[in-house]
Symmetry: C2
Subunit: 151 residues, 2 copies
DNA sequence: ATCATAAAAGATACCTGGTCTCATTAAGAG
DNA sequence: CTCTTAATGAGACCAGGTATCTTTTATGAT
């Protein structure tokens, strides 16, 4: 599994290089860490794991990885902004309000619905932002077991 | 028109009172100002218009008006958070990226679509956040005229 | 009308997440 | 290997918002 992670980290760097950015050692370190992350994380989380990097560098590389499509931003229900490895291209997230896990919603089937609704308001659609909140499978499962136990 | 605004402002305050909050003079001032606003605005805008109020009071009353359903938050495409008089109940916004105007989208017809999609991922939907970006009727009109003119 | 009490205000310190500046370092193309 | 330019790190700064504490004020009970 370690090997896989390194492979992923290298892939992320390649994406940068392909877009003309240098592969510096801070960026390699950041790529390592985000490849290891299995949940969405904050800039602060990243900083804790890379205390030797300058703070500005952390923010700069986050921004860069977002711009190059490696990371995406995730808006939590409480308004907090997190980052997460991105499936390239437009997609949305199912965010579990219980355990904080997130699942990607790949096909964006609301686009055409939105298109219609917008048009009917004389509005020329150019984009949208959607986050979906709820309970993931395992959390709703354990909640129902808890309910049973409580009876 | 001034009379109407006052009527609106009073309505906003009544909403607070009905929910057990006191009608204080800072809150009356804030209600006046937000009733006068015809676009979404920031905490800072509010502060400029009410320089005599304490900064914390501005933020506290914004929060309160949001909680009581008088204001809603609007997430701009660049990530900025604005406030705006709210239609009560769940709704979304059509935000013009050109002129910054916003239009409410009242019927939330994506709910059932989302419900299905979530269910198919084993996800128990509890809420969502959606903002729609594009060009409003008058902006797309003037853009097409500009195009014609440029030929 | 007065009073007691709890809520709210205001000043101000603090916090989080992020940008700017500027001097220094290091990729990487030639 | 050298040169150029991008990138880094330190640190000041900024925006938006919260916490703490003391003083003020709205409101319900007398
Ligand atoms: Mn994503
Ligand atoms: Mn709204
Ligand atoms: Zn969960
Ligand atoms: Zn417009």
């Amino acid at each position: 599994m370690r090997k896989r992670v390194n492979a992923l980290a290298e892939q992320l760097l390649e994406t940068l290089e392909q877009q003309g950015y240098r592969s510096t050692s801070p960026r390699r370190a950041v790529a390592q860490v985000i490849a290891n992350q299995d949940k969405h994380f904050t800039a602060e989380n990243l900083r804790e794991q890379l205390p030797s990097l300058g703070r500005a560098t952390i923010f700069r590389s986050l921004k860069l990885f977002v711009e190059t499509g490696v990371l995406c931003r995730v808006l939590l229900e409480d308004g907090d902004l997190h980052y997460q490895l991105s499936h390239r291209g437009h997609h949305h997230h199912l965010l579990c309000v219980e355990c904080g896990s997130s699942q990607d919603l790949l096909g964006c089937d609301i686009e055409e619905l939105l298109q219609q609704t917008s048009a009917s308001h004389g509005f020329e659609l150019s984009g949208h932002w959607l986050e979906v909140y709820g309970r993931c499978r395992s959390c709703s499962k354990s909640e129902s077991s808890a309910e049973l136990a409580a009876v």
